[in-house]
Structure formats: C-alpha cells, structure tokens
Amino acid sequence: MFGFSSKQLIGVGLFLFAIFIGVPLVIGATGRWDFYFTLTSVALLAIASAGVWLTFYIGRINIGQGAFALIGAYVSAILVVKAGWSFWISLPAAGLFAAVVAVLIGLPILRLRGVYFAMITLVLTQVVTLTALALPVTNGAKGISNIPLPSGISVFGIPILPDFAAMENTKLAFYYTACIIMILTYAALYRLVNSRLGHLCRSMQQNEELASSIGVNIAYIRIVIFAISSFFGGLGGAMFGSIAQSVYPSSFQVADSVNFMLNCFLGGLGYVFGPMLGTLVLYFGWDLLFEFGKYQMLIYSTILIVIIRFLPNGLLSIRFGKGGDK
C-alpha cells in the first residue's frame, strides 16, 4: 500500500493506536488531564517544526518559524473575531496567508545561504513581533483575546465537525484535532520528501550549482519549499491561538523560533519524523521538569547539552547510525 513495507505499516498503525487510543486511556487512568494540553501543544509545535525541517531539506537554516506562526495566529484570530469567519475556514486561510508572506519575503532573502540566512530569519521573528505591536488591526500590545471556540460545521444538515463551545471536554477535542492535523502534515511531508520534489530538494541541499546545471529551477523550488514550510507554521500558529483563545505579539518570540529549530536538530535532520520526536522530547521534557521549580531550566539545558555532546547527529541517529538517510 502506497509503497510502504509491512514493517512500516505496522509502525504507523502502532503510532496511530498510541496517540488516538493509548494516550486517552493512560490519561484517564492516571487522571493527569493536564497532559492533554501538553500533548496538544506538542502536536501543534511539531507541525510548525515540520516546516522548519523542510527548509533544512533545501539546505537553509530557518530560525524564523515563530514569525509565521505568529502571522497565522493573528490572521485566524482577526478573521474569526473581526470578520466572523468560521475557525475551520480561517485555519487554511491563515496557512495560505503565511505562505504568501513567505513568497514575498523569500524572494530576496532565499538568495542568502548558511549563517546569513539563519541570522536574517532570526531577525524576521522580531520584525513580525514589532509589526504586530505597531499595526492597529492587531490591537498592539493588548493583542486579541476572547477568541471564540471553533464552531461546528455541517453540510446539508449533517454535522461534519462538532461545535467546540457546546462540548464538555474541549481538551480531548482539541487533542484529537491537533493530532489529525499533525498526521496529515507529516503524511504530506513524507510524501513530498519521497517524491520528485524531495529528490530535487536533496540535490539542491547538496550542491545548488550542480542542481541548476541539470536544469533545476533552484530559485523557484526554494520559494515553493519556503512557502510550504511557512504554511505549516501558519497552520500551527492559528490552531494555537484558537486553543489559547488569545494571541499577543509575544505569543511567538525569537526563543520559540529557536526552539522550532532545536526540535529539528534534536530529532535529527536526516529523518522526516525527527522533528516530531524532537518536539515531543523537548516540550514534554520541559513540562516534566516543572516540579524541579527553579532548577527546571538548569536541568533542561544540561540534558540538552549532554544529548548534543554525545549524539551530535540527533536522537534518531542512535538507531540508524551516522549519516543515514530516510
């Protein structure tokens, strides 16, 4: 099926079982309802991280995903609160808007390589935060709060998506929604990487000159990839805003952009599912360390440093060995 081996299919099946049935069972048994919020956040951040990973795939270090997450969050919030759109329509709109912005910004900056691109994307996060502070439509520092919960959608009277506001347990609903979007994102990412576009990206990552000599329009593919990457960022950000029911200029900051990048590095840049694992480990790990109080940051960063010191090629490199690709 879809060219997967049976081993891969079993793996995917186990994964789906774990997140859709296993997690609710465990949470129900232990009573740690707060884990729903943690895991929902992990799923959403993993979507944005998937975008960052994709820009890595064309050889660009992207520390600007926070900018696109923030754009997505604002676009969705404004469409829902001020224009009265349904959240479910504002969600793809937020992604698309982020992608359009990415095209406009990408045209000049994607010519930069290496640390230059990394640094300018870092600055980009700051630009969007400051723009959000300055524009009237984003409400400045006050931000947009009291975003209503997603309303239901029905076609010809048949409910397709339920009304979140009428639900008793929105935590579970948000968890499922986030997981479904995350799975779609990673399925698309996997497909993309293993299709021709992915092969062209790899050729560009390894040598842009040679890629253009075999007829690859590298400028075009860079833009397409950056737009897709930012689409994921916008999607994750919009969903986040909806769960928090608010968005502020500080909702996504430079530190968040750095974290998205760290998720990818930690999971391993050679593996499509690396950013998902990286996000889980980093975010969940951070959450678990909460009980250490003021030592939380110290322990967290120490573990981070130890991991990178002894596994510089990412967590997944334990299984696949150095330089593996898949």
Binding site: V254, F265, S301, T302, P312
Partner: protein, 289 residues
Amino acid sequence: MEQILANGVYLGSQYAMIALGLTLIFALMNVLNFAHGQMYVIGGFVTYTFYGQWGVPFVLALVMSCVTLAILGALIEKFLFAPVIKGSAREESTMLLAAGIAFFLDAVILLVFGEKQRGVPKIVDGVFNWDFRIIMPYDRILICLLAILSIVAFIGLMQYTKTGRALRALAQDRTAAQLMGVNVDRYSMIGFALGAMLAGLVGGLLVTITGVNLGMGGPTSIKAFMMVMIGGAGVISGAIWGGIILGFMEAIGLALLYQYGDITYLLIFVSLMIFLAIRPQGLMGKPWG
C-alpha cells in the same frame, strides 16, 4: 544633531565590541554563538558583584569580568564545541549546542544572580554640557573611551602579536593554518576565550550605565547578529563598521521617532533585510562567507 552624533559614537563603540567577539568566534570555528548575549550579561553581573557589592575598584572588577568569561569561554570550547564539531555530520549541530549553552547560562544567571535588575554606583559624577548641544554624563564618556581603547588594543593584538597572527591564519583557512604549523586546537580555544572575554568586558563596562538583568541576553545576541550581518560575517573591520552603523541608526531613530516607540527597531530590521537582499555578504564580507 551633535547630540545624536555623540550618542551614535557612544552606542556604536559598545556595539562594535560585542560584534567583534561574535565575529571572532564565527570566523575561527564557524560557530554562531547564540550564547553571546548571555556571556555579556554574566560579564555585567561579575562587575556588579565585585564593584557594586564588595567595593572592589572598578578597573579590578572589569578585569575579573574578563578573566571569568575567558575561562568560561575556554572551557566551553574545549569540552563542548571542539568535540561536537569533530563528531558531527553537519556543522549546523553547533547551533543546537550554542542554543543549549545560552539556555544553560540563563539558568545559571537566574540561580546565582536572580531576576532583578541590578545597578552599580556611578564611577564618576557630573555631566558634560557643551552649550546644550551635547549633553552627556562623564561616566558615559569614560566608558565610551574605554571601549574605543579596548577595540584599538584588540586590533593591535590581532595585527602585531604571534597569537593574533595565528588566529588570523586560522580564521582564513583552517587546513592551511594547520599545515603552517599552527596548533589549531589550542588557538581555537584561545580565540573562543578571547571572544567571550570581549563580551564580558562590554558587560562590565555597560553595567555602570544601563545596569544588568537576566532578560538582556537574548536581545543582545540578536543585535550582535545584526551588526555582524551588516558588516559581513567573520570580518573584523566589518564587525566594527556594523557596530558603528547600528549605533548611529539607533541614535538617529530614537531621536527622530521617539514618540512612535519601537518603530525605530522595526525600520532598522526592515532596512537590514533590504540591504542584505541587495548585498548578501554585508559591507566587508566575502561572498558566501
């Protein structure tokens, strides 16, 4: 106008020093040191502790800032960056390490020095006032002079000493430097220590004026990145120019656009992006660093 120029020189000299340290580390090891701002903050806290808390003479406190950061930088290079660079398939992995170190230093600062804003007594009193055209407290002038002096000393070190020549050779071409008999491992460590020391020195200098707090690390790193980009990564003259240009832009922007708040920074960021789109390698950089 004169006031703006004076502010520009003052800011620019501080910024140039921060950028110098960052660009030195980048040139030597191809490492984007995210922890640079935190090193600056630690430098500030060390001077605060020695001068502000224990009453040690200011100059001695500055020296302590330098020594602390130099040792810290050397240890970080030897036990973290060097092995990771050797064992990593992609050199970008050092970015993760640098970010981890930034978090770690933030945590250490939080535990040792706390979250509060800290200031120290003025090192000299009084205000220089030239006909209300330039008004500047004497301590700012002194700090500015010290910063310029340090920059000159640093350039002298790089140009005329054996260490400086080795570092420049290393920055230009690692393999060639090795062939020429430069002890690459040793000088990488020295260079990193030197870069960290510069950050600590500026921190120590500026604590007398702006004070210091935990939250200053990240924004300082971003500013340093910008200066390095303006001038061209890994180029010493570029870092100095970058610092001066950013200093002047800030001074001018804050004077003209005072009532619009952060719009100065927004304009600086946007113009930087436009500038880099036209000239990706910065003012002085080689194409593609």
